[in-house]
Amino acid sequence: MSMLERPWSTPYHPARAFWLLRVLYLLLAADLWLDMTEHGGRYGIGGFNVAHFALLDAWLPVPSAEGYMALLIASGFVAFTLALGPAPRWLRGTLAATYTLAWMLSLHDSYQHHYLISWLLAWAAAVPDVRAEQAKSDVLVRGWGIPMTCITSAIVYFFTGIAKSEPEWRSGQVLRAITHSTPTGAPHPGKFDLARDALVQLGLTDALVWQGFALATIALQWTIALGYLLASERDARPAPWRAALVSLGGLAALSFHGLAELFSVFEIGLFSFYMLLLALILLAPSRALTPLPRAVAWLSARWAGRASSSASGHGAPWLLQLASAGVLAAVGYTIPLPGARAAAWGLAALTLCRLAIALRSPHAGRHRAERTALGTALATMFMWLALTQTSVPFDYYRRTAGELQRMGQLERALSTYRLAERYAPRGRSRAATIREIQRALHRDAQHRRL
């Protein structure tokens, strides 16, 4: 094996592939449904939009809230079904493309971690779709998806360290600003001020403490980068020095993102969770990853046994999948968000496509069809729960209404606030705002009459 080929052909423990696909797609579904959809109302407001690239501005119309939401809802659904498996490569590739299109459509979404997730989704398409029974074994698997994920992560942390090496970061000024630091004794201390005060008590100066925090952050970034760079060979070429450096990188990632989440330092949605789980899956020793697949394999074997004994014939999984497509289309009408119906119809069509593909090899595809049908049914249920039984509809409408009110579009704001009020969780009523807008509209009408 040549040096150029070695990074891509080195085998790794199957549990890493098993967990990467399950966790990445589940987290993505949660991210899309519970976090990103609530911001969808800003698309198309005022007819103004700038895409990430001029080419997209030239080719695509101004994105609407309906279109954007349909893209997010459908992508979340596909991610959920892929997490449960089976995960055909063409569908994984399609998800990477739809997710990427969702953020590329508009500079409204310029979170750098969305760009990172696009890379991760693209590489995930090349990760072997390992089942739980295989994941618990010690027979190593190959595929360039995991090595590329490690390289991408190493590049990200390396450049993040470079960005933090600039003078303002090194001096600690940026960290002070991020953590909302206040002088010692001030009534509302910042997130790291307790630690700062403790170190100042030990005799260090305030400036030195912040410099120390900043330099420690940079060191953490590069330690994590090194860990990822060495990680993909950990299982095939075990060596104490490599295991130590990779584990050190893992601990650095867990402490950095764990602390950031604990103190809410960065406030960027689920980003810390993505990075924490990535570190656990790619940097932890493989023996830490196998106990759960054993349990999943046991449950899956029991379920498969029960399903095969209760199935009335070869048609059962196909019928279940056909019914799932029908239920999916109907569920779209119960989700009170723009784009939900279009997404549901599109997803029902996708389900039928997957059914048609499975029907081409009915015997080999029977178990696969059972898993697809179960995945579709569960994804439909969780999509409905996420988009109707949480604060998502309320947050979507109150955010949109608030923006319309600020822009002076009071009539639209009023009707949108009324929708928000319909889904308001206890204690978050917008009744007072609705009355305020009604009064403003009444005053406007009186002025016009005069």
Binding site: S110, A163, Q173
Partner: protein
């Protein structure tokens, strides 16, 4: 791994390094940190105030644009952050108003340590459909 695939994989690695490296080596626009893995950088935490104006040909005074009324808060943040393409699109959109010959945006920024940066001014010529001046 086949040779052709191998070449593509290494090309992808080079691309992943080249894109963020280009921020430091090639790009003039320091405000555009997209794709450079500069989360929570000093540039990102720079605080800016913006003001926009419509100018008519030969008119003695320019008219201030009520920005919160014409743009979503997300776009205002993009203008504050100096996103060049958003600035250009926004100023171009001002040309749709009658008698506007130039769209102007002024931006004043302060670094996280409180240091004021030189003010930046962008002027869009509606007839030529181009940014006439930018920092």
């Amino acid at each position: 791994v086949r040779d052709r695939v191998l070449r593509w994989l290494w090309l992808l690695v080079v691309l992943q390094v080249a894109v963020p490296a280009s921020y430091y080596l090639l790009r003039d626009d320091r405000d555009d940190e997209r794709f450079a893995w500069r989360m929570f950088s000093s540039v990102r935490l720079t605080r800016c105030a913006i003001a926009a104006f419509d100018e008519a040909d030969g008119a003695p005074r320019r008219v201030a644009v009520d920005l919160p009324k014409v743009l979503h808060a997300g776009w205002l943040r993009s203008l504050e952050r100096g996103r060049a393409r958003v600035i250009e699109h926004f100023l171009a959109s001002r040309c749709r108003a009658p008698q506007v010959a130039y769209g102007v945006l002024e931006r004043r920024c302060q670094t996280p340590s409180g240091k004021a940066l030189p003010p930046a001014s962008y002027r869009y010529d509606c007839r030529r459909r181009a940014l006439e001046s930018a920092p």
